[in-house]
């Protein structure tokens, strides 16, 4: 194989790969080397035919309800795991022959629960406030509460904490009225922000949506649909954008009709 064959084949190799694109290879169809090399012509011909064939194949499609089935299955597995975990941890620890400190399994479970709580608190804070939340805020809050609880337990004479202040000597009637008022206000707010008011179709812009943190639970279908409706125009535009090729997308981001008019003027100036 000559050096020019190698060079040609390297160029061919560089153009292959990624999504099949027959157009890419048309450039090589005019390579000088092909005029004198039958073997390389044949290789190019075969590659072109293969690219054309590959390009004509439809994109693989996932079954439409796959994600729903997957989510259902994951939930099932999760609930089975939580049902079984009580005994599973002990039996797992029992497999090891090393002496195990008493209460280790309980401590591990507490640790896991604590870690989950911390994660959730951070995630909730991030979602609710949408302000800069320190990474470990949840952990620090829990540590603070833990300390406060310990202090209260150790020193009965210590001044009452804010947490203790919540337990007021209220009678059942007052508590019932308070609960009713909260329920009414909450239902009003929910109606307002939920399914009927402008909040029903969340007033967040797509950009707000895109910066919002992810909760730790799976999004509910209904609220997701509301988000989709709110952003339908943008989503459809995004769908269109996704149908553009990479160069077309970059050109769209960087250049516009002004550039075309300028290029026209430049060509005209060159012509004259």
């Amino acid at each position: 194989m000559s050096t020019s064959c190698m060079e040609f084949r390297q160029q061919l190799e560089a153009l292959l790969g990624g999504r099949p694109d027959p157009e890419r290879l048309t450039v090589l169809g005019w390579h000088e080397h092909l005029l004198s090399c039958g073997a390389c012509r044949e290789i190019l011909e075969q590659e072109e035919a293969l690219e054309l064939l590959l390009a004509s194949l439809p994109d693989p499609q996932l079954p439409p309800d796959l994600s729903r089935r997957l989510v259902r299955r994951l939930r099932q597995v999760e609930s089975e795991a939580s049902d079984a975990k009580g005994g599973a941890l002990e039996s797992l620890l029992a497999l090891d022959e090393v002496a195990i400190p008493t209460g280790l399994a309980d401590r591990v479970r507490e640790g896991v629960a604590q870690a989950r709580l911390e994660d959730r608190l951070d995630a909730l804070l991030e979602r609710a406030l949408r302000v800069e939340v320190p990474q470990d805020l949840g952990q620090r809050v829990l540590a603070g509460l833990e300390g406060e609880r310990g202090q209260d337990l150790l020193s009965p004479t210590a001044p009452p904490s804010r947490a203790r202040g919540r337990i007021l000597p209220l009678n059942r009637g007052v508590l019932l009225k308070l609960a009713a008022a909260i329920l009414v206000v909450a239902s009003g707010v929910a109606l307002w922000r939920g399914t009927l008011g402008p909040g029903g179709e969340s007033s967040e812009t797509p950009s707000d949506l895109l910066v919002q943190g992810q909760g730790d639970g799976l999004p509910q279908m209904a609220s997701l649909d509301e988000e989709v409706i709110e952003n339908l125009s943008e989503l459809l535009y995004w769908e269109s954008i996704e149908s553009l090729g990479p160069i077309e997308r970059d050109l769209l981001s960087q250049l516009d009709l002004t550039d075309e008019a300028l290029l026209d003027s430049a060509l005209e100036a060159e012509g004259s």
């Binding site: 077309e248 550039d259 290029l263």
Partner: protein, 378 residues
């Protein structure tokens, strides 16, 4: 006196709160709809969007949910890029709507909201795609090849550099056009002192002014109604420019108004391409013709695209054959090519101004570097 039971009081309060919420929600909702639907042609009301979503198949709804989820998970920079591109596409939709001929606009406005939005988006996409190809075609060959071969990051850098180059070129171009437009040195300086974005916008004003001056001097191209030109003149510069680009397909001589050469004022001079090549180009641009797309408004988007492609391909083959660029045997070879390969070949043929043989369907061993059709030059 009987004491009201807590449960009934609770229910009354809940009903009152619900009614209050409903009333406020209804008021706010209608108000927002009104605000967000200022232009029938280019924006959809919330009610339209909801109706649209509900009319979709479960499969389409699921695809949209997944797209939203995917977008939420994109890195910040990618999201920003996507938003910029969506904004550009939306802008193009506005320009397309503004530049439509009266009969096309009436037809579009008469469609249901979802069809109208779909068609407008398709038209914008076709325009954007074509604009990209046109811009690439107008770049020096070396620059174009560098862009096409570059890795994504490098390509973005090259395009940014190109944009800066263009910005710098605005000043020189305005200076060059100034005598023709009657701009004083001070006006030119004021224009050039503007920030980049404003200068870009002003440049399109300048282009519009030059085009209208040219038409004022020479009169309208044959077949164009004065009323139609009047309406086009009322458009903002970017919509005007797009309208003119599209009108060029109907009135090829208008290309001269966009790029008048000094001393070519005597008549609507012939455009650069031969009539045969122009026919091929017009056939290839069928998907950009709003009238053509609107004729297929009742079909679904995928079916419409397919039909437009079939028409475009048939016409391009006929134009190539009629122009003497291909033989009957070549046509048969062209027929078996997939659409994308076919259109790429014809585009390359057009880009070379007819210099490069249109058919690459022949096996490479048979290929030669012959011209497409003797006598065809730009």
């Amino acid at each position: 006196m009987s004491k009201p039971r807590p449960m009934s009081r609770l229910l009354s309060a809940a009903v009152f709160a619900s009614c209050f919420s409903l009333a406020i929600a209804a008021w706010a909702g209608s108000d927002q709809d009104a605000v967000r639907n200022p232009d029938q042609g280019t924006t959809a009301s919330k009610a339209d969007l909801r109706k649209r979503f509900e009319s979709l198949s479960e499969e389409q709804k699921q695809a949209l949910r997944q797209r939203l989820e995917r977008l939420k998970k994109l890195p910040a920079q990618e999201r920003q890029d996507l938003r910029t591109q969506a904004g550009q596409l939306e802008d193009m939709g506005r320009r397309v709507y503004g530049s439509l001929a009266d009969r096309d606009r009436e037809r579009l406005d008469g469609l249901s909201a979802d069809k109208r939005q779909d068609l407008l988006r398709e038209m914008a996409l076709a325009e954007v795609r074509d604009m990209g190809h046109r811009i690439l075609r107008k770049l020096p060959q070396e620059e174009r090849e560098r862009l096409e071969a570059a890795e994504p990051q490098e390509r973005q850098r090259l395009l940014l550099e190109l944009r800066h180059q263009m910005d710098r070129r605005i000043g020189q171009t305005i200076e060059r056009m100034a005598p023709e437009l009657g701009f004083s040195a001070e006006q030119v300086k004021n224009l050039n002192d503007l920030p980049s974005n404003e200068r870009r916008a002003k440049f399109l004003h300048v282009v519009k002014r030059r085009c209208t001056q040219y038409v004022d001097r020479k009169g309208l191209p044959e077949g164009m109604q004065a009323k139609r030109w009047e309406r086009i003149q009322q458009l903002p510069p970017d919509e005007f420019y797009l309208a003119l680009l599209n009108l060029r397909r109907e009135f090829p001589g208008l290309a001269r108004a966009m790029n008048p050469k000094p001393g070519s004022d005597s008549e609507w001079s012939a455009p650069r391409l031969s009539p045969e090549l122009q026919r091929v180009r017009r056939a290839m641009e069928a998907h950009l013709d709003p009238t053509e797309r609107l004729e297929l408004a009742e079909k679904g988007g995928v079916e419409r695209e397919r039909e437009l492609k079939v028409r475009r391909r048939k016409r391009a083959m006929a134009a190539l054959h009629k122009g003497g660029y291909v033989t009957g045997a070549d046509l048969k070879r062209l027929e078996i090519l997939p659409d994308e390969a076919f259109f790429a070949l014809v585009r390359r043929f057009l880009d070379s101004g007819g210099k490069q043989a249109p058919i690459d369907a022949r096996p490479p061993k048979e290929r030669t570097r012959g011209p497409g059709r003797p006598g065809d030059r730009r």
